[in-house]
C-alpha cells in the first residue's frame, strides 16, 4: 500500500467517524461549533476524500495489473514475457525500456492533450463490452498505431537516428517521423503481441531479486 493510499484511507475513516457522530447526535448542529463541524464533516472531508479517490483510481488505471485484470487481456500480458527479442512489447517490458508497472499505458495512451480522457472513455466502452456485449476477438486497435507513441521515447536517440535501416534511404527517417511509414506494420518491427503464436513460444522466467 502506498503512502497516498494510506492517507486516503485515513481521511475516509476519519470522515466516517465525524459523520457518524453527526448522524447519531444531529442536535449538536444547533450550536455554532456544531455547524462548523457539520460543514467540515459533511462537505469538506467528503469532497477531499472523493477528489483523492478519483486521483487514486486514475493513477491505478495506468498500471499493468489493472489492464490485465480482465480475462480478455490475459494473453496480451503473457506476450510481455515471451523469450524472443523480435517481440517488440516483450523486449520493451523485459529490458525495462518501459516502466514494467505501467507497460500498457506507456505505449497505448495517446501522448496528446486529451489522451487520458479518450483512454478512459474507450475504457467505458470496454467495460460495457465485457459485461453486456462481446469483446471482439482478436482485439483490434481503434486506429492504426501511431508512430508518435514510439517517437515519444526513440526520437533523438542515437540507436534510432543512426540505425542503418533508418538511414539507408534518406527518406525513411522523415517518413517515420511524419507517421507516413509505420514502425509496426512495415516488415521492420511487425511482431507485436502476436497472441496467436503464444502456444509455441517459450517464456522468460524472471529471477527472484
Amino acid at each position: 500500500m502506498t503512502g497516498n493510499t494510506t492517507i486516503l484511507i485515513a481521511v475516509i475513516l476519519f470522515s466516517i467517524v465525524l459523520i457518524a457522530w453527526l448522524v447519531l447526535r444531529p442536535s449538536i448542529t444547533a450550536t455554532r461549533g456544531g455547524k462548523m463541524l457539520a460543514f467540515v464533516a459533511l462537505l469538506i472531508f467528503p469532497a477531499l476524500a472523493g477528489g483523492m479517490g478519483v486521483n487514486r483510481h486514475i493513477e491505478r488505471s495506468k498500471t499493468t495489473n489493472f489492464c490485465l485484470s480482465c480475462h480478455v487481456m490475459e494473453d496480451y500480458g503473457r506476450s510481455l514475457r515471451v523469450d524472443d527479442r523480435s517481440f517488440v512489447p516483450a523486449t520493451h517490458f523485459q529490458y525495462n525500456l518501459v516502466p514494467r508497472d505501467q507497460a500498457c499505458y506507456t505505449c497505448h495512451t495517446d501522448y496528446t492533450m486529451y489522451g487520458d480522457v479518450n483512454a478512459k472513455l474507450r475504457g467505458l466502452k470496454h467495460v460495457y463490452a465485457y459485461y453486456l456485449g462481446k469483446p471482439s476477438q482478436p482485439i483490434k486497435l481503434y486506429q492504426p498505431y501511431n508512430n508518435r507513441e514510439c517517437l515519444h521515447c526513440h526520437l533523438g536517440a542515437r540507436g534510432f537516428e543512426e540505425s542503418e535501416a533508418h538511414t539507408k534511404d534518406p527518406q525513411t527517417l522523415s517518413r517515420i517521423k511524419a507517421n507516413q511509414l509505420s514502425c509496426s506494420t512495415t516488415e521492420c518491427h511487425n511482431i507485436i503481441h502476436n497472441v496467436g503464436q503464444l502456444k509455441e513460444a517459450t517464456f522468460w522466467k524472471e529471477q527472484a531479486k
Binding site: 459523520i19 457518524a20 453527526l22 462537505l43 467528503p46 476524500a49 479517490g53 483510481h57 488505471s61
Partner: protein, 70 residues
C-alpha cells in the same frame, strides 16, 4: 421552531447516511484493482456522496430561508 429543527436534523441525518454509504463504497473499491471498481466508485460512490452533499447544502439553505419568511 421545534419542527424546523427536527426537519434540519432529519436532513443532516439522511445526508450523513448517504455520505457514509458513499465513503464505504470508495473504501471497498480502493481495495479492488479492476475497471469495474473504477465504475462503481464513480457511478455509485460518487452519486451517493453528491446526493449527501446536496441534501446537506439544501438543509443549510432552507434553514436560512425559513426565518426571513416569518
Amino acid at each position: 421552531m421545534k419542527t424546523q429543527t427536527t426537519k434540519i436534523e432529519r436532513r443532516i441525518r439522511l445526508a450523513g447516511i448517504l455520505l457514509i454509504a458513499g465513503l464505504l463504497v470508495e473504501l471497498v473499491t480502493l481495495r479492488w484493482s479492476h475497471p469495474t471498481a473504477f465504475l462503481l466508485f464513480l457511478l455509485l460512490g460518487g452519486a451517493l456522496m453528491a446526493l449527501g452533499i446536496a441534501i446537506y447544502l439544501l438543509s443549510i439553505v432552507s434553514a436560512e430561508k425559513k426565518p426571513s419568511l416569518e
